[in-house]
Symmetry: C2
Subunit: 76 residues, 2 copies
């Protein structure tokens, strides 16, 4: 099991959120609007700058239509 | 993809954290101490009462020695 270094999980989450959002063909602005999340805050999530909470992770995963655990898997 | 209802993810996380912690044979107190997390706060995580942040999810997963995505999978 690869041990994540503090802060690494934010980057894994950021990379995955961006990847799934782009796969849906949505801009950050459109997606943030769709899930009723502040656009600036959401931009920070995709830059790995936000210490995102589980409730917001749930909202993002639901908006992306994916199972939340997929947001925490490292790309192979 | 099962859509989680707001707050459901906290319960999934709580159930998994408890399961993995008990599998390591540790009490809440011992585990909270080990990962340098406030014991009362940690108890709230296992009761699904805390809107846990990604940094603390990372700390818990590292302490359990598991990949963080396992904490977000629903039990079959």
């Amino acid at each position: 099991m690869k041990r994540t270094h503090p802060g690494l999980l934010r980057n894994i989450l950021a990379t995955n959120v961006r990847r799934f959002r782009m796969a849906r063909g949505l801009s950050q602005q459109d997606f943030a609007l769709e899930i009723e999340m502040d656009r600036t805050y959401y931009g920070g999530v995709e830059r790995g700058e936000r210490n995102v909470s589980v409730d917001n992770i749930e909202r993002i995963a639901n908006g992306l239509g994916i199972s939340p655990d997929l947001l925490f898997r490292e790309a192979d």
